[in-house]
Amino acid sequence: MATEAKRTRKNAQSGIFAVFREQEAAIRRFVRRISPSSSDVDDIAQETILRALQAEREREISQPKAYLYMIARNVVRDAMDKKSRSVIDFIEDFAPESVSSHEPLIEDQVDGRQRMLLFWEAVATLPEQCQQVFVLKKVYGYSHAEISRKLGVSVSTTEKHVAAGLRRCSDFLDRRAAESGLNETRRRSAGKGE
């Protein structure tokens, strides 16, 4: 085992690839757990190794295994983001003429980490089942069908929970924004008002 690892490291060209091969089954299991749907697993696994190879060309990767997991996680998150973005695009097709559809990017204005903590608090206030569904959907990126199977509730129930969860989060953020005078939430929604 140890000698094999050494040999892997010596072969600098394909170091990360060898680790990927070694870890592929485990990474796929990991991806399956966190990816939006099981059909995405191949795509995500492939994207993961592609990004890893790219990164390896640019710099040395001291911990290939941990690195692969980190990339897989990022790929899943990006997939979720892309999906959300496409929903927003779809909605923006209906923009009334008086509304300009592009606003300054939130990410540029707000410390993402702090915002994440805020969301986390918001999620923590959800009723139990609603929270379960919401966490599966937004934290783990499960599909409605998978959530429905896992929790033994109907797909339409999971939809209702996701809607209610989002609504409550939105209320929570509004309340918090009202509580603290110079909150970012307020700043960012100021542009959206009248």
């Binding site: 485990a26 923009a95 379960q132 937004k138 809607a163 939105s170």
Partner: protein, 358 residues
């Protein structure tokens, strides 16, 4: 504000409707009839459009939670924990009168006996491992103690003294220029007049973090009469002795570290996001971002009585990120197992051994 008041009165259900439509859009399952209905709905008014657009942006933002990898199992517990926490006004530092009742076992100073040149009866505040506690002091200041901490509050005429014997505490100091507020930790002291800062004194390492206002930092003279036999050997200033001459001023966002080895001092200015992460424990969170596991574990160790051991050297450098509730170390170990390929093994003598899966 996000929505005008009139709107919520006119159409109390707009947000719910928008959220329901959004949830359906996100599933991607939309029949042509659904689509027609959606088109009709969103075109009813610009407010309909604005509302669903706002929620869609929010929904996208919430995706960042995907970075947390919080185990589901912990969710229900956490919810209860948060509700418990909610009963304490953790967030409103200004209105903490109620909190005094949470100090339970501790008798706070009801007022200074008038002719009191001597040290009044001291007050001790303690937190067990894994718990935090918030206490309102008689001068209107508040103190929040982190895990495994112990301090003595000794307020006398003209001076507010705190002796942090171990652990960590965040102070929100009521302004009183005539009565400096001084925190003593080991052989150092931190003095404020009206400000918010934290002092951490663990394993002879001192860390001072200032979130608002300014504090003066310096060496503290020896304390004449330690009030506790068990504290023998600790160097503390006498309550009646003049405050040491402070040497360093620390401003908002500054963090001072005093090395446990050679007492070397390092002052740095923290970016806003790092500052909020450092002080996340005040809201009951531990917040790590891209931190080596060795560091995360030594931090986690403060919150649990179980000894945590990193068995594989290669694990020590594993970069780790996540947000956890204080007192729920299980969630941390679950995240390690689920998302970071770490095997967590509990031994018979109640240790937790972290190993690489392969």
């Amino acid at each position: 504000m996000t929505r005008p008041e009139a709107l919520s009165a006119d159409a109390p259900d707009l947000t719910s409707e928008a959220a329901a439509w959004l949830a359906q859009l996100e599933t991607g399952r939309l029949s042509s009839r659904d689509l027609a209905a959606f088109r009709e709905w969103i075109q009813r008014s610009p407010r309909h459009y604005a509302e669903i657009h706002r929620l869609a942006e929010l929904s996208r933002e919430v995706n960042i939670l995907a970075g947390m990898a919080e185990p589901l199992k912990a969710a229900a517990q956490r919810r209860r924990a948060v509700q418990r926490l909610w009963s304490i006004p953790v967030l409103g530092w200004g209105s903490l009168g109620l909190v005094a009742t949470c100090a339970l076992a501790f008798t706070l100073l009801a007022g200074m006996p008038d002719p009191a040149p001597a040290v009044p009866e001291p007050v001790f505040l303690v937190t067990p491992v894994g718990e935090t506690r918030e206490v309102a002091l008689e001068d209107g200041s508040t103190v929040k103690l982190n895990t495994d901490s112990r301090m003595e509050v000794a307020f006398i005429k003209g001076r507010r003294n705190i002796y942090l014997e171990k652990g960590e505490a965040f102070f929100n100091v009521a302004h009183d220029a005539g009565r400096p507020f001084t925190v003593y930790a080991g052989d150092r002291s931190v003095t404020a007049v009206g400000t918010a800062f934290s002092v951490r004194w663990t394993d002879r390492e001192l860390v001072v973090t200032v979130s608002e206002g300014k504090v003066a930092y310096g060496e503290a003279p020896a304390r004449a009469a330690p009030s506790q036999a068990s504290d023998a050997g600790k160097v503390m200033p006498a309550s009646s002795a003049p405050v040491s001459s402070p040497r360093t001023m620390l401003g908002p966002g500054h963090r001072l570290e005093v090395s446990p080895l050679n007492r070397a001092e390092l002052v740095e200015r923290l970016p806003e996001n790092v500052l909020s992460r450092e002080l996340a424990w005040r809201s009951g969170f531990l917040d790590f971002q891209d931190a080596p596991l060795s560091e995360v574990v030594s931090e986690m160790q403060r919150y649990t009585a179980q000894e945590i051991v990193i068995a594989d050297a290669e694990l020590a450098d594993l970069r780790f990120g996540g947000v956890f509730r204080i007192g729920q170390t299980d969630a941390f170990f679950e995240a390690l197992e689920l998302s970071f390929g770490v095997n967590v093994e509990q031994t018979d003598d109640n240790k937790l051994i972290l190993k690489s899966v392969n």
